[in-house]
């Protein structure tokens, strides 16, 4: 599972210092790539993150403001100040926060710092999903039938698309501001809600309508471009397991894609990439319907949360390549024809309650045991015995597995999920453990409705599970000394402690 990074010791680092304008697992991930490239990683932190994992992964960290993201991780001025103070030559935005804000990319470049991402103009043009739809169609890429213009209160315009429709935010992405509408009666209120949500999330209430594609698979193609006009197509990822139109599980290759469809998707992705002045990592997202037709959804010119899936099947370090490409390095020929091997699956561990509609949970994380062993990778941004900050994304960790084929990858994922233990709050781990035994997921024949149609709020607790839980709690109570000391007395020596732990593990 070693990543092919081509970072021999003789290679000169592309930068001396790089500032990571993010937090959590992705900031840790970028810091790791920096270290392997010989670059000194600089973190940024809000007041509540001063001791966070991502801060400790870096060589130094700059305070950028209070807990509220708007005044820290979303503050262009604070981040540029931090970059200047620390002498960073480049800024990696990660995903989320400022990663797709053209004005941020512009400000970074104006400050004489390299932005690890696409040219600002690409961000500006792709940020408008409605405009991106029009340019993709002009490039000969199929798009979902829908409105060519924004919908305000012209209901006939939407009706002409054909119900049911999906309302989407033009400034959106990531599933936010999306509303499904089945009947004309529901349309006015759905439109109002979608516009309000879009405005709250993006500061822009522009909404358009697309015909609902159902059943649908969500399949995306990973691209990497350099500053010399070269483009590498690095395979597809299937991201059809979603809640609230947001991804929970990703795999590559897609079980729904055969060779002809794969070629068609790659061809469409290349065409979309020609519509924007683009370099760096990008993802072109498609819906695939039951007949194997594909439709362009959107293009994201940043690192995706699920990039690790592609790294496992290609052996490439995408973050390292983002940084090298940003420094002007050309993409070598062998990378452009990189073959993909085996099967990779990622599951996202969120602080969410899958038994109650995946609502976010909060609190203090207690037990924290991550899986390990052959073919397992964990990208975590937090650790045990810490408070989960309600101000930020509830992603706790990404668990990735790789194996020769899909059945072996599923077996490995099942094993890894049994090793995973997160205490203190409800996570989606219960759903993920159910998923790896679900007939539809195991067969590979599933679509974006899997959670609604098969999970609901999870199966009821069985009598056997209740009896086991009862046994565990009763044993714990009878076992517990009636004192208030929560921790066992320290062992006499570290060796004795290690031996005791070893004995318990057996």
């Amino acid at each position: 599972m070693s990543l092919r990074t081509d970072t021999g010791a003789s290679r000169r680092p592309p930068f001396d210092r790089l500032l990571i304008a993010n937090r959590g697992e992705i900031a840790v991930r970028v810091a790791r790539a920096c270290r392997e490239l010989g670059i000194s990683p600089i973190a940024v932190h809000s007041d509540v993150d001063a001791d966070a994992l991502h801060v400790r992964a870096a060589d130094r960290s700059e305070r950028i403001g209070p807990a509220a993201a708007a005044e820290s991780y979303l503050s262009i001025e604070a981040i540029l100040d931090a970059a200047r103070r620390s002498g960073a030559q480049a800024i990696h935005p990660g995903y989320g926060f400022l990663s797709e804000r053209a004005e941020f990319a512009r400000a970074v470049e104006a400050a004489g710092i390299v932005f690890v991402g696409p040219p600002p103009d690409a961000l500006a043009s792709l940020g408008d999903k409605l405009a991106a739809r029009r340019s993709a169609a002009a490039a000969g890429v199929p798009i979902v039938p829908g409105t060519e213009v924004a919908v305000t209160d012209d209901l006939d315009l939407v009706a002409a698309v054909g119900l049911p429709v999906m309302l989407k935010a033009a400034a959106g992405g990531g599933g936010r501001g999306m509303r499904r509408v089945d009947t004309l009666d529901d349309l006015p209120s759905a439109l109002a809600t979608a516009r309000r949500e879009a405005h709250a999330a993006f500061g822009d209430g522009t909404v358009y309508a697309e015909r609902l594609v159902s059943p649908a698979r969500h399949v995306e193609v990973q691209l990497l471009g350099d500053r010399h006009g070269r483009l590498a197509v690095l395979g597809e990822r299937d991201c059809s397991v979603q809640r609230r139109h947001q991804k929970l599980v990703e795999e590559s290759p897609s079980p729904a894609v055969d060779e002809p469809l794969r070629e068609a998707l790659f061809d469409s992705a290349r065409r979309v990439a020609t519509t924007v002045p683009f370099h760096n990592a990008a993802t072109v997202e498609f819906l695939v319907d039951g007949d194997g037709n594909h439709y362009f959804l959107e293009m994201n010119t940043r690192l995706q949360v699920e990039h690790g899936v592609t790294e496992l099947v290609t052996g490439l370090d995408l973050v390292a390549w983002q940084i090298r490409v940003a420094a002007g390095e050309p993409i070598p020929e062998e990378l452009r024809s990189a073959e993909r091997r085996g099967h990779a699956i990622e599951v996202r561990c969120y602080a969410e309650d899958p038994y109650h509609g995946f609502v976010p949970t909060a609190g203090r994380i207690g037990a924290w045991r991550l899986p390990d062993g052959p073919g397992v990778r964990v990208d975590a941004g937090i650790e045990g015995d810490t408070d989960l900050r309600p101000e930020y994304d509830p992603l706790l960790a990404k668990l990735l597995v790789w194996a020769d084929d899909r059945p072996a990858a599923l077996a490995r994922l099942r094993r890894a999920l049994d090793e995973l233990a997160i205490g203190g709050l409800q996570t989606d781990a219960g759903f993920l453990r159910w998923l790896v035994d679900d007939d539809a997921f195991v067969s590979g024949d599933y679509d974006t409705s899997l959670i609604e149609t098969r999970w609901h709020d999870g199966p009821p607790l069985t009598d056997a599970e209740a009896a086991l839980a009862a046994r565990a709690a009763l044993s714990a109570r009878l076992d517990a000394p009636p004192t208030t000391t929560p921790r066992a007395a320290p062992a006499a020596t570290p060796w004795a402690e290690a031996a005791r732990r070893d004995g318990l593990r057996r």
């Binding site: 949970t361 909060a362 309600p390 607790l461 056997a464 209740a466 009862a470 565990a472 009763l474």
Partner: protein, 154 residues
């Protein structure tokens, strides 16, 4: 037969026979249930009567009471349910984006009291029963944690 009343949620449950609990780390609750020919990883958190057992990723609330504790608790519940104001609390953390009621207003069960935005989704908080609003303890723009009191109903 045990001399304890063990409940999962509200339901009395007979603890599984032939299984014992082995701690991996008592402080954090990491443990295994060891049964006939197999072991299952669990997390056991809590103390006294209130426990949470995480099994296959699901947090299961378990109450373990001696019969004496059970009788006392039942008597207390009985006394509490007779009357008194109800506090409507946040079931998820988020941002209060709209407040639809004010103190003194009569509301019917199901009336929308306020809207909390979490994960960019708007979630309406509704009145659990008919009543009069005694107090609204939050305002638009407040960030609330799970369990935070929002509205008191008489």
């Amino acid at each position: 037969m045990t001399d304890h009343d063990v409940r999962v949620g509200d339901e009395a449950v007979v603890p599984a026979d032939g299984w014992t609990l082995a701690w991996d780390d008592r402080a954090s609750g990491l443990a295994r249930l060891i049964g006939p020919g197999r072991s299952i990883p669990v997390i056991v958190e809590g103390e006294g009567t209130d426990w949470t057992v995480t099994l296959h990723g699901r947090r299961i609330p378990v109450t373990v009471r001696s019969w004496r504790e059970r009788i006392l608790a039942d008597a207390e519940t009985e006394a509490r349910t007779h009357s008194g104001p109800t506090t409507v609390a946040a079931t998820l953390p988020g941002l209060v984006v709209a407040v639809a009621v004010a103190a003194g207003e009569e509301v019917a069960a199901g009336t929308s009291l306020l809207t909390i935005e979490a994960m960019k989704m708007q979630n309406e908080v509704r009145a659990p029963r008919d009543g009069t609003v005694l107090e609204v303890t939050v305002a638009t723009g407040d960030t609330v944690a799970t369990g935070a009191p929002l509205v008191r109903l008489a």
